[in-house]
């Protein structure tokens, strides 16, 4: 049995995750459908346990926040599934900006666009930008991820 089949899927609730695109057919500037994600306390506990985060913001309690990188990681995971990226895709670079803390149970809305999509020497380089907002439209965070996709 492949190892991937043994892991339990436990991640933030994400709405609008049914569209699968073909990355090769998309052009720069393409905008993906807005999606919503909400972190439950159990999501944060699973993430924190996985990365071994001992920082104060990750500790259980009334002031617990969504670890900033957990938000970015969930958004990237969503894009990987949405695009059906090939096995063997690797992460080349990452930029993140955190504007406001995200609290457990609060809806987050994500807008993603394709910033670059090129092929060099048979290897595809794709850059996606995601901006995260709260329900009032206030910017929470921004992420720019570049991945290398095997041809």
């Amino acid at each position: 049995m492949p190892c991937a089949a043994r892991v339990t899927r436990r991640r933030p609730q994400i709405q609008s995750e049914s569209v699968v695109s073909n990355l090769a057919s998309l052009t720069e500037g393409h905008r993906f459908p807005r999606y919503q994600l909400t972190f439950r306390d159990s999501d944060i506990a699973a993430y924190v346990a996985a990365v071994g985060d001992l920082s104060p913001v990750a500790m259980p309690g009334p002031d617990r926040l969504v670890p900033p990188l957990a938000l970015i990681a969930s958004g990237l995971g969503h894009m990987i599934r949405l695009l059906g990226l090939a096995a063997g895709t690797v992460h080349a670079s990452q930029e993140c900006e955190f504007e406001r803390p995200v609290r457990v149970g609060v809806a987050v809305f994500a807008d993603t666009s394709l910033k670059a999509n090129t092929v060099r020497r048979g290897t595809r380089f794709a850059t996606v930008e995601t901006q995260y907002f709260d329900a009032r439209g206030q910017k929470l965070a921004r992420s720019v991820s570049t991945v290398i996709v095997p041809a």
Binding site: P2, A49, D53
Partner: protein, 140 residues
Amino acid sequence: MISPVQIGHRLAVLEKAVTQDQIAAYASAAGDFNPIHLDEQYAAKTQFGRRIAHGMLVLAFVSEMMATAFPREWPSAGRLKVRFKAPVYPGESVKVTGEAVGTADADGACEVEFRVAVVKPDGSDAVSGQAFVRFPIDQS
């Protein structure tokens, strides 16, 4: 402008051991089931020759270091810009480092730049780049 962090200040070093169980747990938590991280037979045929940790798992160590040093500022006024330069393999231990290297005015705040890295056992960088933290300028 008086910087809240002195240039040359080094953040407390984090030491992290990466295990395959941790990688599997991270895959579940982040929803990234790429077989290069999970499937030994698949990974053996890739350029890396074996399974590797998710880049975002390794980068989480940098975020933890920054959040530990600046728990109030990091989630609301932090930035990261890094490159993934080499894979981290399960079984490896890495050191996470950060050093203040500069300051700049940023919309009425003082932004401190840190050079950050995740260093592999052989001394090479798995991740390197910059982290930035904005601090309000005390007007009093």
